[in-house]
Symmetry: C2
Subunit: 349 residues, 2 copies
């Protein structure tokens, strides 16, 4: 099955795997109910246990208006190996992915098994011919607004060519999802000087510096992520995965410690109440649900992985990300950038 | 010059490069004045501009009692290339390092140029014969107490054997500096399952699992650092450098945002005052100065790198770390662990 050109055949904005994640299918449908408010013109192909989904939709009127159900007799369990998941042809995840491959939907969103989703998406939707390896991207908070990070673990080993492709995909993603006209890009390294790091990052930096149309800032370091020094942070999947989780862990530690601080005494509790409006704004801004939705970039269609443990709010954010990418013709933007790259010399190792 | 066996000839607890760092030599001597209170039995060989140091010591009576000055006509600037620094034989950094190599002091502490310090230490003090590559370690806060992380950038590319040696050095370091009788060790990876990651981490994990005397926990992920899942987090220098700085950056972001929160309105200011004792305890606990002092492990002597921008409090913490390592016979502990390792099979790639 080959992917159709943008726009062909497409009946649905998104295909949704309704059976993936810890709180499926309830959290998924609650999320769609929230998303329906923000995207009243969208249409969702919702795949899963039709009887259950149909009963749940009866009490979610806004989602019901935008959703079409498709039955899937099976679901991919969270702990199933990707190789095994590939063999199940009638899982909700597989049928939702099939809808993208067949051009029925522009994107798929799932809270299910990450490894299975990545493997199925790569095999069924397929990698863009211009890209050697897809990458996993996500949005993370910084002092100067949202920052895109990639790769987050799709490729634990990368060469210079992979990093260059990640930069181009990250650039297109930041344009589509963050709405930035000329996002700045940084390559993660152990220092910001040109000679730092290994051959791989130095080679990639050299090519990116010469790349027309890319606002390449140069090397950035770990602390530049939260500082928001650049809009897009590019790195290999090993480092990116560790860095993203390290940052999340540090923020969680601070949240937990602050909770202890504000319950440690009666004056501290009173202090919390006085500062509450501002603290609440901070809490909302840092809310991990606002950053839910990792995106597999570089396929012939949009694939968004929602966190398995998220709730309706988090799932609705993942839907937002997918809708942004579809609306902004994300896949086409990457194709255009890659053909520009093909026209200029690229370091290959 | 070869390093002497532990205890021989040694006249000083520490050699101190008094001319390194942004606030040298004042912050260094103020730091020694603080350290002198905590280590009244120590003796410091303080190297630098003798006239300046002597004038400064006159107003720092506690430090003056423990310090012996040695003149160095030059200092290594912060931006000097390591190769160039190696050629200056009469810099304060070089003379302080020479004192360790010659067995006059057990350890050296410097706030100066990191690259120069690492290069000079490796060439002059020399790597332990049992170790293939030294590693840079530091202590970072977690929900369950202090955590040791290494490598932090001494080796941007590592093989399985390097990671195993880092684990052994990290174990010895946690015993000496954190005072833990059996520190738990984790190998940083993109997932905690045995099959995750690349060959390098899987091979290292296999050897560490079989290693007697090591409390190897298995793989840990980025978020485990701040969670304090293990006492020692082992990784390659590229990932470790990025992870440490990413975590520090996230904590700094939270500190900055909290400052904004508590100055955003009059009630919020009042709230801060009420919760202040608990917030101050949190601030002190997170104080980066408390974690000052990166340690170059695997040399025939203790080398501690204090942050270039730190103040007296931070420098005194770096001195504490060096004193802990000297007092606990850190170098000998590593030797013992390595000979146990040599007696058991090790994967080499």
């Amino acid at each position: 099955m080959t992917a159709p050109a943008d726009g062909n055949l497409r009946r649905f904005s998104l295909a949704v795997d309704a059976m993936g994640g810890d709180n499926a299918p309830e959290a998924v449908l609650d999320g769609l109910e929230l998303a329906a408010e923000r995207h009243p013109g969208a249409s969702f192909l919702v795949v899963g246990d039709e009887a259950r989904l149909s009963a749940l939709l009866a009490t979610r009127p806004r989602a019901a208006r935008l959703c079409v159900l498709r039955h899937a007799p099976q679901a991919v369990p969270g702990d199933m190996k990707p190789t095994q998941a590939l063999r199940i042809r009638d899982s909700s995840m597989r049928i939702a992915i099939d809808a993208v491959a067949q051009g029925e939907a522009a994107a798929v969103v799932s809270s299910g098994n990450t490894g299975a989703l990545m493997a199925l998406a790569k095999i069924v939707i397929k990698t863009m011919p211009e890209i050697s390896r897809p990458a996993l991207a996500a949005i993370t908070p910084s002092a100067r607004g949202d920052v895109v990070m990639l790769d987050l673990g799709a490729n634990v080993q990368c060469d210079a060519r992979n990093l260059i492709e990640f930069a181009i995909m990250g650039d297109a993603f930041a344009r589509a999802v963050l709405g930035l006209p000329a996002p700045t890009l940084g390559l993660l390294n152990v220092g910001s000087e040109e000679l730092k790091g290994d051959d791989r990052v130095r080679e990639a930096a050299e090519t990116l510096r010469a790349q027309p149309g890319l606002a390449f800032h140069g090397f950035v370091e770990g602390h530049d992520i939260a500082a928001g020094t650049v809009d897009v942070v590019v790195t290999d999947g090993f480092t990116g995965n560790v860095a993203l989780k390290t940052g999340e862990g540090a923020l969680k530690l601070m949240r937990d410690l602050l909770r202890q601080v504000f319950t440690s005494s009666i004056p501290a509790r009173a202090g919390y109440l006085l500062a509450r409006p501002a603290l609440e704004r901070l809490r909302e801004w840092m809310d991990p649900r606002r950053y839910n939705g990792a995106i597999l970039l570089g396929l012939n269609g949009v694939v968004v992985k929602s966190h398995g443990g998220t709730d309706a709010t988090g799932f609705a954010h993942a839907v937002d990300v997918a809708m942004d990418m579809v609306t902004h013709g994300f896949t086409q933007t990457i194709r255009d950038s890659l053909s520009r790259l093909a026209a200029s010399p690229v370091t290959q190792d």
